[in-house]
Amino acid sequence: MRKELTLMELVDRYLDGSMSGDERATFEARLQNDSDLRELHDDQRNIREGLERVSARNAAAKAYSAYRMGKTGPWVAGTLIIAVITASVFFLWQQEDPQGRISERTEHASQDHAGTTLLTDDRSDTLVLHIEADRDTTVLSPNGVVLDIPHGCFVDDAGDVITGNVRIDLVEAFSAASIMKAGLSTMSGDTVLETGGMMHLQATYRGRPVKINPEIPLIAMVPADPQQTGMKLYAGVKTEDGTIDWRDPRPLKSTLVPVDINTLDFYPPGYCTKLNELGQNSGDKIFSDSLYLAFAKVLHADGPMTADSLRASMGKNSGQWLYEAHCHSCHKPVDNMTGPAIAGARERWQGRGSLHEFVRDSQRMIRSGNDHAVSLFKKWNRTVMPPNDLTDEQIDKILDWVDDGGSERRYGIDPSKVMTIWNARFNNTNLATRAFEERMQAIHGTCDNGVLDAYVRSLDEDLSSVDARVVRMGHPSFAAFARRGDGRVELPRRSSERLARLYGKWSRAAAEATRKTQETFWDEQADKDRTAQELQDAQAQQRYEQELQRFQREYAANLTSACQQLGIAQEAPSREPPTLAYQVVIPRTGWWNIDKSTYWVTAERRNMEYIEPNTRKKVTVGYSPFTMNVVDRTRFDEVTAYLVPRELNSYQRMTDGGHLFREDLNKKLTYDVVCLARKDGQHHIAVQAVAPGSMEMQIDPVPVPHAELERILNSLGKEVARGLSDEARYMAWLRTDDQRRTANKARADLHNALLPIVLPCGISGSGTANNRRILDRPARYPFGEKALTELLTVSLRNEFDPLNRFIEGRVEIEFWVLEDGTIYQPRIAKVLYPGYDRKALDLFRNMPKWTPAIRNGKPVRLRYARDVYFVREGVSRIGNTVQAKE
């Protein structure tokens, strides 16, 4: 690394041109001979060029925005426009007056044709343009003013649209010298306007001045950099002494240009990027919309929190209830709103007077001359806090509640609200603008739904005035928007009121519909999980019974054979086979229990050879290894193979070794091998007899229609056919169901991956640090931590999973422990798999009351998070600690 570093520095010095002559020559010679160095040099040079490009590109992009920005200042004008751009950028303009001054203008216009401009004899400043009025024209003036002249922009006195050649005379006075030369003043009444420049535009058609069509205005884009606040538009009035007086100032708002709302992006920042990262296609709008909307369920899982539910849950005298009833409209717990944040009020009032008195009747305290009260009153715009009759105790309750971090929790912007406004219904409103799109990104950052509501409920206001209000709601970052002075998209008051009213209704409906859809879907899935479990159990039971039956038959066959070999009469096996297996070592000599031996041999499928000491008769029961290979196995979705011993009217699954199927064959039996395979739902089958003594087999299943499959299976015997077609059906179902569950798991994973983006202040976000206080005692589960851990560890023994791939993991649940110990509003903070999530949530919903947390000797409500673990049977979890989240 040292050497590389030195080399790079050397190259840098060379490229910087800071080498001395000799050094340079040496280096260049080295470059000639050392190809590695040359490569390094080339790369480094190119990278440095690349860096220049990056910064040049940034500058270009910024310049482009500035250029576009300049374009957003359009105005409508009559025949005559005069604009003054001052240091703080003022635009001045004059509308044509039908009587009075018109003659004067016309006079000037004709003078102009006589070879003079309106205000000066100096023609050199005049830009004369001839344009075709029936085409769009864009003109760039020497001072950078861009005129967008749409076709049909000019009308004659009768109001008819002019087509044909229109002459435009443009006079610009941007420098002090040219302003003076043009004889223009910068006086507005007695006030001097600081002037940067002025512009005069006049259009004539066949020698007559023409008007501008108010329907299709001409748009002038005046460079406004640095863009400044306080731009004003003035009407220029020619006074008797021939100078122009600038009157009637109006604040210049940038008019918002509505675009199709569907071309805008209202998603949370990074949503599409993350989607693409996760291998999804964010371009599929229907998919990404509905996925986004689905997150509404996180916020609406228990239905919206209403005053009623609050009252029911905490009683009318609780801190939160009192806060909602008395403070909520003007204060926020930790942010400033109309009034200051409540949090920390006690500290701020320390030694300055009685906070309680102030809260009850601030005006009396102000009148009494308390310094702090007076300064607060002044600081907060002399807003009067209404007097009330709260007791000291009640005020303390509110303050305690706030200081305990009991602010309403912000997760993020409600997707159902976003999707409600991101709709053609809101086209041609403030929301369907690039300007709002930018704000939408910032709104997501606030996680405060109130901000979004403010914009939607104020469609008849300028964006900038809503911006200012949002700043007062405690989001100082919106000041940057407010300063831009963005205007609005004109909308009839009635429409804006209607939209504002319907917004609440629509978004609630969207949330409700989402919640229902989600619930229906997951309920269905839960049903399917249940059915699947039943099927799985039934199939396992059937397999077990079938296997037992086959075993007994094979055992019987082996025993019969052994008895025949010994020449003794066979008794039917008199008892059930033992359920526990003992390891049996067969002695060379001695007395044998023939049926027991045969039993073990059959169970373990190995060879038995025994010579009866008295009769010298030899008994053999034998098994030989056998393997079966499916030709080109990978072409199938799945393959199963069965051995069908002809003598037993039964069958046996072959052990699937991945590559080969293997099983030991009973030497006394004749076997058919049945291979069932499936590809895309198409059944394949091969049935092949095992030649005596054969050790291996190749098998090549061929596609068969369903009826043919049944026929082939039936030829193997009724009992076998029934069992095997059950197997085939089960395997087919299993595959589909596996896909279903894999898809559900993928949904859950996608949800978890996107959650921090969609609801960025999310579920695991931390509260405000300054509200953290030391607890006397945390909340506790009444039966102790160990019991809770046991309760929250769900053993998967009885949980469904047909492929024995247990879904292990944890579901994180967040919940309040209220003052009285009630578990309130448990929510899933991290999902695992729907059925499990539900189960985890149920654990909390049915949980007994806890012992509440104690702070300063009083019970307080606190938010906790706990994991519910789903583990394989026999695994225990220790050290699952309680995490207090405030």
Binding site: Q44, L51, R53, A56, Y64, G144
Partner: protein, 189 residues
């Protein structure tokens, strides 16, 4: 703003102002692109590329004003757009006649060289923002390492230097990854 003034601005490092003035030429390019099956956004992109190419010529190659900047930009844009259309399997159908024959610059060779720098640019953009910032401050803004360390919160000059080295090394690695396949292809031809 006249051409000479714009060139001066760029030489003084006042890119923003220069570019802003130059954007006045965008409508013409938009027209060209619109007439040749493109969208205004395409025009915006190629115009930005043209600005960057112009910027380099002024900065490094001592741009001599043989034509107006406007003509130069337009010629570059036309070439870039022709290239883009070729990529999209279309040809340029409508040329504005007065701009047709411009031979003041050997655009083909220039654009080929720009391709290399383009790769470097892409490699750099793929680095983290911190790396890009370190390198930009060092190479473009010529800030001393001590200042960079302070601004970006490195322990000291040494740390900044190491960081710069590592970033440059990583940029080079990625650049080679992007650029080398094309280089080899050229060699085998």
């Amino acid at each position: 703003m006249n051409d000479q003034r714009i060139i001066e601005l760029i030489r003084q490092g006042k890119d923003h102002e220069a570019f802003k003035a130059l954007y006045a030429h965008l409508p013409k390019v938009e027209h060209l692109v619109r007439e040749n099956s493109g969208r205004p956004a395409d025009a915006k992109d190629i115009f930005q590329d043209a600005l960057i190419i112009f910027h380099r010529r002024v900065r490094v190659e001592g741009f001599v004003l043989s034509s107006t900047i406007s003509t130069f930009l337009f010629a570059v844009c036309r070439n870039l757009w022709r290239e883009e259309l070729r990529r999209r399997n279309k040809t340029l159908t409508r040329w504005s006649a007065e701009e047709g024959g411009d031979a003041t610059v050997d655009l083909t060779a220039m654009l080929a060289r720009e391709q290399e720098f383009q790769h470097a640019e892409e490699a750099l953009k793929s680095l983290g923002t911190k790396c890009l910032e370190v390198l930009t401050r060092f190479y473009v803004k010529n800030e001393p390492l001590t200042m960079i360390a302070k601004a970006l919160g490195f322990a000291g000059e040494g740390a900044a230097k190491t960081r710069k080295y590592k970033c440059l090394e990583e940029a080079r690695k990625r650049y080679r990854h992007l650029a080398v396949p094309t280089t080899q292809a050229t060699r085998t031809h």
